[in-house]
Symmetry: C2
Subunit: 335 residues, 2 copies
Amino acid sequence: MIKICVDCMGSDNGSKATVGGIKNFLKTHKDVQIIAVGRKEELTELESYSQVEIVDVPDVVPMTVSPLEVMRARKSSMYQAINLTKENGYDAVVSAGSTGGFLSCATMRLKLVEGIQRAALVTPFPTKSGNPLTILDIGANAETTPEQLKQFALMGRIYSQNVFKKEEPRLYLLSNGAEEEKGSPEVKQAHKLLKESNFPGFKGNIEAREALDGDCDVIITGGFAGNIFLKACEGVAKMMQSMIKDAFKKNIFTMIGYLFANSGFKKMKEIMNYKSYGGAMLLGVNGVVVKAHGNSDDYSFGCALDLAYRMAQSNLVNLLRDGVKENTPIEEKGE
Amino acid sequence: MIKICVDCMGSDNGSKATVGGIKNFLKTHKDVQIIAVGRKEELTELESYSQVEIVDVPDVVPMTVSPLEVMRARKSSMYQAINLTKENGYDAVVSAGSTGGFLSCATMRLKLVEGIQRAALVTPFPTKSGNPLTILDIGANAETTPEQLKQFALMGRIYSQNVFKKEEPRLYLLSNGAEEEKGSPEVKQAHKLLKESNFPGFKGNIEAREALDGDCDVIITGGFAGNIFLKACEGVAKMMQSMIKDAFKKNIFTMIGYLFANSGFKKMKEIMNYKSYGGAMLLGVNGVVVKAHGNSDDYSFGCALDLAYRMAQSNLVNLLRDGVKENTPIEEKGE
C-alpha cells in the first residue's frame, strides 16, 4: 500500500483543486492511502473516503513564502505534510504551494541523498517523436556549479533508465550552440567534466530548438535556464493552442472544417497538454517529493498524485541512492 | 539611397540563399544599393542588376570560426563585408555566417557606441495579441553582468520607442519567477539596479510563460538564457506546426476539414513564421549589423535584408548614440 501525504492548501486555487484532484485520483487507484493535510472544514468532501485520513492543520503559507519561513511555520499544511512524511515514513509528499518554500523545506527535513550536493526538479516532456525526454533541473536552483551539473547528469541517467527503461540514455547539455566551446562558463566547464570522465551516453551540447525533436533522452541544464526553457515551451504551446481555437472559430466554413478535422487534432492535444504531466519530482532527496503546478486544477493535481504514486512504486529513490554510491569515486566517498 | 553590404557566402546553404534573397529583396526596394561580397563565379546571377555591385573575394570562413580567426581572414567574404562597411561608410552589413565570428568581428571593426560595454542581439517576436515584443540579448553574450543588463534595458527602450513607436515601453527582466527575489545572481542584482534607478517603464520580473502574452514591450535577458528562450519558442512552434500538418493529413475527413478551415490558419501561419523575422540586429555598435539565420533560404534572407534596410532608414544607430549619451551620468562620462 502506497501512502501519499498531500498539502491540501497550497495551490493558487486553494483546497478546491487539491480535493478535486484527490477524488479524481482515487477513482483509479485502490491500493493507496492519502493523508490529506489542511483545514478540516475545507476538506469535508474527503471525509467519506475510507482511503483518506484527514490531518487538521490551521495555517497556510503564502505563495511568496521564504524557505526559512516554512521551517518556522510549524502549523502550516506545507510544513506538516513534509514533517509527517518524514516522521511516519510515508512514500511520497505532494504540494502545489510555493516552489521555493516546498523544495527547500523538503530538502532540509528529508535530507539529500548521500553524495548529492543539490536536488534538482525533473519532469518528463512531450517530444515530436513521442520519445519521452527527461530534463533537469527545471527550477530548483537559480545557480548551479559545473560539478552539480555533472551530478544532475548522473541523476538524469538513473531516472531515464528506471522510469523510461532506456538502457543507454543519450544525454546532452542544454546550451546556446551545439559546438563544444559554446555556453555559459558553468556549462562549458560541465561539458569538460562530462567529456573527460567519459560519462556514459554523453553526446555534447544541444540547442533548445533541437531539444524536442526526440533524438535525446536526457537534457542537463542549470535551474535558471531550465525553468526558462520549460516555461517558454509551455507559453508557445498555450499561445498556439489558443490560435488553433481561433482559427477554427473564424467563420462558418472553418467551423465546418473543425467538425471534419477534429479527430486529427486529438493526438496533438494529448501530447501538448502540459497539465497531464501534473508536476515535477525533486530528485536527490530521501523521498518522493512532487511539486504540482501552482495553478493546478482537479485534473492536473490528480496527475501530480499519479506521478507521485508511480515514483513511489518504482522504488526510484533507492535506485538513485545505489546509483550515486556506485558512481562516486572512492576518494570522494571518504570526504 | 541606402547602401547594404552583404556577406554572400556565409549561410548553411551557401550563396544560393543569399543570391536568391537579394533578388527577392530588390523586387520591392528600388532606392537601395547592394554591395555583394563573395566569390564572383557564384554571384553571376546578380551581374545584370544595376543596383548590385559585386566585390570578388576568394575565401569563406567556416561556421565554427572563432572571432580572432575572422579578424585574420582578411580575404574572407565575412571580414571584407564588415571592413568595406567601415571603410566606405555603408549603411548596413548583413551575414548569415557564424554568429560568434560575425558579431565579434563587427564589434571590433565598427566599435561599440560610446558608453556601451557590450552589444546585444535584438529581435522582434510574435505575441498572442500582436503587440510587437523586443527581446535582448538573444545570444551575443554567453555571460552578462548586472550593469550590462541595465544597459540592455536602455538599448531595448530606445529600440522599442523608435522601431515600434512605443512612447513608454513596459520593460521586464526575464526570470524564473515573477517575484523580486527570484533569479540568477546577475538577474537579482540587475533587478535591484533597475529598481533603485527608477528606470522608466521597469515593471519587474516576468516568467517565460507570460512573455508572449503581449502585455510587455521589452524583455531583458542575458544572452545565454535569451538564446534558450528564443530557440525553445522556435522549437515548439516548429513541432506544433508539423503536428497541425499531420492532424490535417490523418484521413480523408481531416483533409476535407483542411479545405474548410485553411483560411482560419493563415493568420497563425503568418504570426508564427519565424523566417519572416529574417534575422536579429546587433544593438550597441556603430552601424546597422544584421545577423541572418544560418539556415536562411531565399525568403528569410530577403527578410533579413529588409530588416537591415528599415533599421538603416530609421536612423536607429544615431538615436541610440544620443539616448545613451543622455542617460549616462556625468561622472561616468568623465571616465
